[in-house]
């Protein structure tokens, strides 16, 4: 934790413009209304640079297990950042009345929204984990397993995230009982969590990738 906080402090000290971008991103998340989830995913994609290692990280005298723990820890820290940003977004939506239509949905269907947020955080973690484990180096899972555990929950997430956008004024989760939607979202999140465990279990450390490290070394 200390190391992560120190690196955050360094980036604030030396890259204030980058932090301004971050603050703008938080503002965007808060104001994104029905697209909040989508915007957060976008931010997550841009942040993948954090989980790429410098060459030094690959050369350090650590066992494979220690190196994996180190990378997982870093993913966890970045995930924590998204959790905090997400919670700030939710708090702001609750505290600032009439900000967006999304606020109305959040207040009317709290349980459904909570389940959506759980799925969103699971998806962010899974995206980063896939990246840090460089899945292409691993044994293939088989397309059925990958579809069921990885792709299907992603489709569920984006369907809910974009439903208000696609069906203005009448998102489809107003159809049917709330608990059905909550179950769908939680099952999708559970599948992702299982998928994360599978990825961790079958994770084989890969080669250092100089081009990616160079391109994505930005904090």
């Amino acid at each position: 934790m200390r190391e992560h906080v120190r690196m955050e402090w360094l980036s604030l000290k030396h890259m204030p413009v980058f932090w301004l971008t971050r603050i703008l991103f938080i503002a965007l998340v808060i104001c994104a209304g029905n697209l909040q989830g989508f915007v957060m995913m976008l931010g997550c994609a841009f942040s993948l640079g954090f989980v790429f290692d410098s060459e030094e990280e690959c050369i350090l005298p650590l066992t494979d297990e220690e190196m994996k723990r180190r990378r997982l820890y870093r993913v966890g820290m970045i995930w924590l950042r998204y959790l905090i940003v997400g919670l700030i977004g939710i708090a702001a939506a609750f505290l600032l009345p009439g900000l967006t239509e999304f606020t109305v949905v959040m207040r009317e269907k709290r349980l459904l929204f909570a389940a959506f947020f759980v799925l969103q955080m699971a998806l962010i973690y899974e995206t980063m984990l896939e990246n840090v484990t460089k899945r292409k180096h691993m044994e293939p899972y088989g397309s059925v397993k990958k579809f069921a555990f990885g792709i299907l929950p992603t489709i569920v997430f984006f369907t809910y995230a974009l439903s208000g956008f696609l069906r203005e004024n009448r998102p489809f989760f107003y159809d049917g009982a709330e608990w059905i939607h909550v179950c769908i979202l939680l099952v999708a999140a559970a599948l992702l969590v299982i998928y994360c465990f599978v990825i961790c279990r079958e994770w084989k450390l890969g080669d250092f990738e100089p081009s990616k490290a160079k391109k994505l070394s930005g904090r």
């Binding site: 360094l10 890259m15 410098s54 060459e55 050369i59 005298p61 650590l62 494979d64 080669d207 100089p210």
Partner: protein
């Protein structure tokens, strides 16, 4: 013996460095040479561990530093190496001193004070981030880090290309000092073959055919040079035994041939008038002729 590399094979996309085996004794400096893309950096990265030998079915090989195996005693193996690489291995968003503070504790016997003193001595700006440093300054920073703990094997990948002439001299001096205790060894890759010739005790010459890198020569510089001669003459190629010719260069006034004879008997196989025109080649000439001939 300090380093043992057995049947190292590493596949990267279409390219493959194939079946590299060599040993390096304590107190020796091994120069790694070869044309661009022959696999010098791939070899050094494989030794350092940033390229792993288990990523594709073709990948193979065993590495030891002393008795430490690269897979079973990873911490000891990796902890006994220090390195200076072409590309900066550290996060670009750190200050020079932070490199020592963050990564130093991973290495046994790391002396932070010594590191800071060396950073100052090498005139690396302390207050700039690594991304703001010049390539030469980054190399000096790496050198300071490498010298701040007692390593057994020093791996230098093209370290001198971005250094000014003055610092380059000092660098070679430092390399000699590193092996002077007869306990450590150095692997040094460079394009500056002539400079390498002056410092390396042994050479590992990597060749490249199609998409495959392989060991063309491993041994001392003198042994390599002893096996070759340059013959200068206006003409008369038909008088040279064809099996001796390893390359040919046409100059304005004359022609030059690189001849090879494993037993060292050059004069005995040539007409008397030609034998007088033989001379020893330097390393760069051997490389030039052989690689040029290979291209053909």
């Amino acid at each position: 013996m300090l380093l043992k590399c057995e049947h190292l094979t590493k596949k990267l996309g279409q390219y493959q460095l194939k079946d590299v085996s060599f040993t390096l004794e304590k107190g020796m400096i091994l120069g790694v040479i070869g044309i661009n893309g022959c696999g010098k950096t791939t070899l050094l990265r494989s030794i350092l561990g940033s390229y792993r030998l288990d990523q594709s079915p073709e990948d193979a090989g065993e590495l030891w530093i002393g008795d430490w195996h690269h897979k079973t005693q990873v911490k000891e193996y990796k902890g006994s190496m220090a390195y200076v690489l072409q590309e900066c291995p550290f996060s670009e968003f750190m200050h020079p001193f932070e490199v020592g503070e963050k990564y130093g504790p991973f290495y046994q016997g790391f002396d932070l004070k010594k590191f800071k003193d060396l950073v100052k001595k090498y005139e690396v700006p302390e207050k700039k981030m690594i991304s703001e440093l010049s390539k030469g300054q980054v190399l000096r920073l790496q050198l300071a880090f490498a010298q701040s703990y007692p390593a057994r094997l020093y791996v230098f990948d093209e370290p001198v290309g971005n250094l000014d002439v003055e610092f380059r001299d000092g660098f070679y001096e430092t390399v000699r000092e590193l092996v002077s205790n007869e306990e450590s060894s150095v692997i040094l890759s460079s394009h500056l073959v002539t400079e390498l010739e002056g410092i390396a005790d042994e050479l590992l010459w990597l060749g490249k055919k199609d998409d495959e890198g392989y060991v063309r020569y491993h041994g001392t510089t003198d042994e390599l040079r002893d096996g070759y001669r340059i013959l200068s003459a206006e003409d008369g190629e038909e008088a040279i035994p064809p099996e001796m010719i390893r390359g040919k260069r046409i100059r304005e006034s004359h022609k030059e041939w690189l001849l090879q004879a494993t037993d060292g008997d050059f004069a005995g196989r040539l007409p008397k008038e030609m034998a007088g025109n033989l001379r020893y080649p330097d390393l760069q000439e051997i490389m030039y002729f052989v690689e040029k001939e290979e291209e053909r």
